[in-house]
């Protein structure tokens, strides 16, 4: 579904991503992990068009998306959430999710003024889709919260809104940047469950960046480890955490010599 071929990205003298190749197939949940500054968020920014790779190609369903603008990439079916939450703070939860569907609207601005039947039908559909996506998160967002400005929501609820917003774009590939950041353990289990259901019931393919190993362990079909912009390891969670290079990257050389286990130590990295 997504194929990344030998991309490079440098900021000034800093090589953020080096010769990275990666594949994500339909229906997979792929986790990207790595120490701080490993280039995980840069990778997401490259895929979604915020940055343009210096060299290499990114293909989505066979179409080249590197070099396109972010909104064009959304049109093709890739959407994301942000590490530091970028919601439309003064707008309501419902409006936030509706804006994500605006790019699929097939009428002019003037028919939205005249409220032509065609526009009204699409508007109703947008509402249905919005409620459907929000209902993934249960009544947490579905009650009176719908009309509340995002500003007043809790941090966890904002994360949920952002995920619903990304789903509502109509994307088939979702990039989730630390979906469980700022959530307590119970909420984390809940979000783990939701991400799995997003794949199983919603049919989304999911790529996520995460620091909480418990979540990664629970849901990943495949784990990709990045360090200094390079792919360090790739495979199932169990394979990857036992890889010596990964333990070294996370915990340093001495820890590796002492035979430390990443799964035990790095739960809250």
């Amino acid at each position: 579904m997504l194929r990344i071929e030998a991309i490079n990205k440098a900021f000034g003298g800093l090589q953020a991503i080096t010769q990275l190749s990666l594949q994500v197939s339909e229906g997979e949940i792929v986790s990207v992990i790595g120490p701080n500054g490993a280039g995980k968020t840069t990778l997401f920014n490259l895929i979604t068009g915020v940055y343009r790779p210096d060299s290499g190609e990114i293909l989505f369903e066979g179409k080249r998306i590197s070099g396109l603008k972010p909104n064009q990439i959304v049109d093709l079916g890739v959407a994301r959430t942000f590490q530091n939450l970028r919601l439309f703070n003064n707008l309501s939860v419902l409006q936030n999710v509706l804006i994500a569907q605006h790019h699929r609207l097939r009428t002019t601005w003037f028919s939205s003024v005249l409220r032509t039947p065609g526009y009204m039908r699409q508007e109703r559909e947008m509402h249905e889709v919005a409620l459907e996506k929000l209902s993934f998160f249960g009544p947490r967002l579905m009650s009176f919260r719908l009309e509340q400005p995002v500003e007043v929501l809790s941090y966890a609820n904002r994360r949920r809104t952002e995920m619903a917003r990304a789903m509502a774009t109509g994307a088939r590939l979702l990039l989730l940047d630390e979906p469980s950041a700022g959530m307590n353990p119970r909420e984390t289990t809940e979000i783990t469950d939701i991400i799995r259901r997003m794949r199983d019931d919603g049919g989304y393919t999911i790529m996520l960046v995460e620091h909480k190993m418990s979540l990664v362990k629970d849901i990943s079909d495949r784990v990709v480890v990045l360090d200094y912009g390079q792919k360090l390891a790739e495979g199932s969670y169990a394979d990857v955490v036992n890889e010596p290079a990964v333990i070294e990257a996370y915990l340093g050389k001495r820890a590796q010599e002492q035979g430390a286990q990443l799964a035990d130590e790095a739960v809250d990295l």
């Binding site: 972010p70 439309f88 509706l98 804006i99 569907q101 605006h102 790019h103 998160f137 009650s143 019931d201």
Partner: protein
């Protein structure tokens, strides 16, 4: 209705009824204004409508899309000059053509809706009775040309950050006025002299102006409420996020500029008609400043707020004359002193209310003492000998408005309305934002229980 599931099923009917009632009430009010016999009152209402159009359209860029644009008077100038030239009566055209000081080109002299109608064989549209039809044509053409300039000015907005863009739009407003008096453009604008004798029956009629205002508010309110308006607000809230959610930033910014400039052009046409002449000094930055004050006072992003703000600005402009007359210096001293004392009192109350330390800030105390002393001494007649000469209060209205704007920006940047719009629900106390007891219970329960499966989509949201 879509987007506001606030009424029950019968609510839509109720709201429509209320809307109709409000329109009827407005028409009755205008009828009374018209028949009251006061020329000034009618003109004030017409001016409110004209400036209301400009303010509401500026609000689309500044408030809804969140781009600070300061070139609105430039768009108005374009619309105003186009309307003025196209509507100029034949007699005035002859004067322009023969006068040596005027430099209108032959081509420009020929730009007349009346002549076009004759040329098209539509003589019945060239009669004095159908002046109104021609005026509408001229207004729309003026709006369209302004919209073209909106597109041009909008382009830098795709590359520039907010404050730079503000300067570029400001420069546009200035440049367009400078250019209008240069030799090339003077053959269309008649230089600094402009056109006198534009029919003034429309700009001063409450029916025409309020009709235009109603159309503007209708279009912009529905635009704001619809999907495009949501996207524009998304651009305002967070450009990066909006783009990441598929909103085409460039298209939407330009859209806001073009629509806004169109209505500004229409407002400019009506404004020229209100004054009766098209002159360059009608389109100073002062205009945009007034609209900015109106938006900021009313609430940035709110159409209702923009209209409330316009009431204030027009009131100050039309009824503020007493401020600008000549009074003895001692009177000014008393007035200034009282203003300072009141300001100090308010400041003290504000600081106390906010529990700021110290509540009696040196600046507050200083202002109070100086103002009090000045007022007291002037009242006692200490300086009467030195202060007997009079002083004309030129510019006092503008000073009052600019002080008001600073105060609003510091103490209540959201303005009166914030970003909200007027809803009938306010009067009916049916506020959907307030959770019911049941919902509160549900929420509390959620925080200890675990998640359930998807909720059927029909449960909430529909009317």
């Amino acid at each position: 209705m879509v987007g506001t599931p606030k009424f029950g099923p019968r609510g839509v009917m109720l709201r429509r009824l209320l809307n109709v009632a409000a329109v009827i009430a407005l028409v009755v009010l205008l009828f009374f204004v018209q028949s009251s016999g006061s020329v000034k009152l009618g003109q004030v209402f017409a001016l409110f409508a004209i400036w209301g159009i400009a303010t509401v359209s500026l609000n689309l860029i500044n408030g809804v899309t969140g781009i600070l644009s300061l070139g609105h008077h430039g768009f108005m100038l374009i619309g105003g000059y186009v309307t003025g030239l196209l509507m100029l009566p034949e007699s005035a055209r002859d004067n322009l053509a023969f006068s040596a000081r005027n430099s209108l080109s032959d081509f420009a002299i020929g730009l007349s809706v009346e002549r076009w109608m004759n040329a098209l064989g539509l003589e019945f549209l060239a009669t004095p009775e159908t002046l109104g039809v021609r005026f509408v044509v001229a207004l729309i053409l003026g709006g369209l040309l302004a919209a073209v300039f909106g597109l041009i000015v909008g382009f830098p907005s795709l590359r520039l950050r907010g404050d730079y863009l503000a300067v570029v739009t400001f420069a546009f407003g200035e440049v367009i006025r400078l250019l209008a008096s240069t030799p090339i453009m003077a053959s269309y604008t008649n230089g600094a002299l402009g056109f006198a004798g534009v029919p003034s029956g429309f700009g001063k009629s409450v029916w025409w102006t309020f009709g235009a205002l109603a159309i503007t508010v209708f279009v912009l309110a529905r635009l704001k409420k619809g999907s495009y308006g949501r996207a524009l607000q998304g651009v305002r809230e967070d450009e990066v996020a909006a783009e990441a959610m598929g909103v085409n930033i460039a298209y939407h910014k330009l859209l806001a500029f073009v629509i806004s400039a169109f209505f500004a052009g229409v407002a400019g046409g009506l404004w020229v008609s209100w004054v009766g002449t098209a002159r360059l000094d009608l389109f100073l930055f002062t205009l945009t400043f007034y609209f900015l004050v109106a938006i900021s006072v009313g609430g940035t992003g709110s159409i209702t707020g923009a209209l409330i703000g316009t009431v204030l600005v027009v009131w100050v402009r039309q009824y503020g004359d007493p401020l600008e007359q000549a009074y003895p210096l001692s009177t000014w001293l008393v007035a200034g002193g009282v203003v300072l004392v009141v300001a100090a009192l308010l400041g003290w109350l504000y600081r106390r209310g906010r529990r700021m330390q110290p509540a009696a800030h040196p600046i507050v105390v200083g202002a109070g003492v100086v103002g009090g002393l000045a007022a007291l001494l002037a009242l006692l007649g200490v300086f009467d000998a030195q202060l007997s000469s009079t002083w004309q209060g030129f510019g006092m209205r503008a000073i009052a408005l600019s002080v008001l704007l600073v105060v609003i920006m510091i103490f209540k940047p959201a303005g009166i309305m914030g970003r909200r719009e007027f809803e009938w629900t306010w009067l009916l106390r049916d506020r959907a934002e307030v959770p019911t007891d049941e919902e509160r219970g549900q929420d509390a329960w959620l925080n200890k229980g675990q998640v359930e499966g998807p909720v059927p989509a029909t449960e909430a949201g529909e009317e």
